[in-house]
C-alpha cells in the first residue's frame, strides 16, 4: 500500500509536477519509488554512497541514509530522512543534507544527479 504519510504524498506530488514542467525523467523515477510501500523503502549506508560517488556530486536516496562507514569526500545529498550519525558525518566533510523538495527546487533539470539505493 502507498504510504499515507502527508510528507511522502507531498514529495510525490512535488516530483511529478517538476517532471511535467521540465521533462526530467529522473523525477518520475523517484516519484515511482516513493509510491511503493513503506516496507520497500530503502536505507543506504554512507560506505555505499562513498563507493559510488566522487567529490562534489549530487545524490538522491529515496529512503533513509544511515551512518555506517566512512565518507571521504564532500557531496550534496538529498533523502527522505537521515540518521543522526549520517548527518554528522556528511556535514563533517563539508557536504550538505537536503530534503527532496529542496533538491528539486535547486536543480530542476536534474542533470548529474545520481540515485543510490
Amino acid at each position: 500500500m502507498r504510504s499515507t504519510n502527508p510528507e511522502v504524498l507531498m514529495i510525490i506530488r512535488c516530483l511529478k509536477k517538476k517532471s511535467k514542467e521540465t521533462g526530467g525523467a529522473l523525477w518520475t523515477v523517484l516519484a515511482k519509488k516513493f509510491e511503493k510501500s513503506k516496507h520497500k523503502r530503502v536505507s543506504v549506508n554512507l560506505s555505499r554512497i562513498n563507493r559510488y560517488t566522487n567529490e562534489n556530486e549530487k545524490v538522491v536516496v529515496p529512503g533513509k541514509v544511515l551512518g555506517a562507514g566512512i565518507l571521504e569526500h564532500k557531496i550534496f545529498i538529498a533523502a527522505f530522512s537521515f540518521s543522526k550519525e549520517a548527518r554528522r558525518k556528511i556535514e563533517e566533510v563539508g557536504g550538505e543534507c537536503l530534503t527532496i523538495p529542496r533538491i528539486v527546487e535547486k536543480y530542476p533539470t536534474n542533470s548529474g544527479i545520481k540515485i543510490i539505493e
Binding site: T4, N5, P6, E7
Partner: protein, 259 residues
C-alpha cells in the same frame, strides 16, 4: 517556542518554554487510525441466538413424493405437522448469515503508532490554524496553546468556572456548543441516542481538586488527567486540533509522557 501562563483572571503570570512533544509533525492519517481503533473499543458485540430457527427436528422427505425437498416438521393431525421449517426459505426458519457475537470488532493498533498519534494530536492542539479549522470559536482566546496556573484544578463551583471561561475568552466556544444541540437524524434517536451536540474545550489537569465536578454541567467540556490523555479526547471524530486548556503542571508532565 515560548508561551505565557495565565492566571484565572486572564493576566499573564510568567513565560515558559513548551515541551518538545509540541514539535511532533502533524500526522492526520495516524491520528485517524488511533481514534477509529479507540471508538471500536466502546462497541458492544451483537449477534443473533445461534439456535434461532433450529429448534426443530424437521427433516426432508427426499425425492419421489412430488413435493419440494424442504425440511418439514414431523408428525400428523396437528397444524404444524408437515409444514416447512429450519430452512431459510421457510417461515420461522433460520437466517442464512446472521450477525455473530463472536465477530472481532475490537480494532488493535500498535503501541508505538498509538503513542505517535497522541503526540501528534497534542502538537495539533498548539496549532492555531488547526484549532480554527476544527470549528472552535477562538477569537477571544489570548493564546494557543492556553496554559493556566494550577489553581484551575481547585475550582469547585460552576459559577467560578463560568467566570474563568469568560475571563479567558472560552465562553464563545461554550455558546457555540450550546447552540449546536440538535435531534439526531435517523433511527439512533429511538435507540437511546436522541440528542447530539458539538465538542467544546478540553481541560487537561495534573490532579483533580474539584474542577471535574464544577464543569460537569457545561455541555461539551471535558476534563482529563494528563496521563490519561488519548487520541479521541484530543481529536474528536478523528479531526485533530481540539481547543485545549492545560494547567502548568500538566504541561510539565508532558516532558516525559508518551515518548
Amino acid at each position: 517556542m515560548n508561551i505565557q501562563i495565565y492566571d484565572l483572571l486572564g493576566n499573564v503570570k510568567k513565560t515558559i518554554e513548551l515541551p518538545k512533544i509540541f514539535e511532533t509533525p502533524l500526522r492526520p492519517d495516524v491520528i485517524k487510525r488511533a481514534v477509529l481503533a479507540q471508538q471500536s473499543h466502546g462497541i458492544q458485540p451483537q449477534g443473533r441466538d445461534p439456535m434461532a430457527g433450529k429448534r426443530t427436528s424437521a427433516v426432508s422427505m427426499g425425492t419421489g413424493h412430488g413435493t419440494a425437498r424442504l425440511p418439514r416438521v414431523k408428525g400428523s393431525r396437528f397444524p404444524r405437522a408437515q409444514q416447512g421449517a429450519f430452512a431459510p426459505s421457510a417461515v420461522g426458519g433460520r437466517t442464512t448469515h446472521p450477525p455473530r457475537s463472536e465477530k472481532k470488532i475490537y480494532k488493535f493498533i500498535n503501541k508505538k503508532e498509538r503513542r505517535l498519534a497522541i503526540r501528534s494530536a497534542i502538537a495539533a492542539t498548539a496549532n492555531k490554524t488547526q484549532v480554527a479549522h476544527r470549528g472552535h470559536a477562538i477569537e477571544d482566546v489570548p493564546m494557543i496553546p492556553l496554559v493556566i496556573v494550577d489553581k484551575l484544578q481547585d475550582i469547585d463551583y460552576a459559577g467560578e468556572a463560568r467566570t474563568f471561561f469568560k475571563n479567558l475568552g472560552l465562553w464563545p466556544d461554550l455558546e457555540r456548543v450550546y447552540n449546536s444541540r440538535k435531534i439526531r437524524a435517523g433511527k439512533g434517536k429511538m435507540r437511546g441516542r436522541k440528542k447530539r451536540h458539538g465538542v467544546g474545550p478540553l481541560l487537561v489537569i495534573h490532579k483533580n481538586g474539584g474542577i471535574r465536578k464544577a464543569v460537569g454541567n457545561f455541555l461539551g467540556v471535558d476534563v482529563i488527567e494528563v496521563n490519561y490523555l488519548n487520541s479521541e479526547a484530543l481529536a474528536p471524530g478523528t479531526v485533530p486540533g481540539r481547543l485545549t486548556v492545560w494547567t502548568s503542571s500538566a504541561i510539565n508532565d508532558l516532558k516525559t509522557l508518551f515518548m
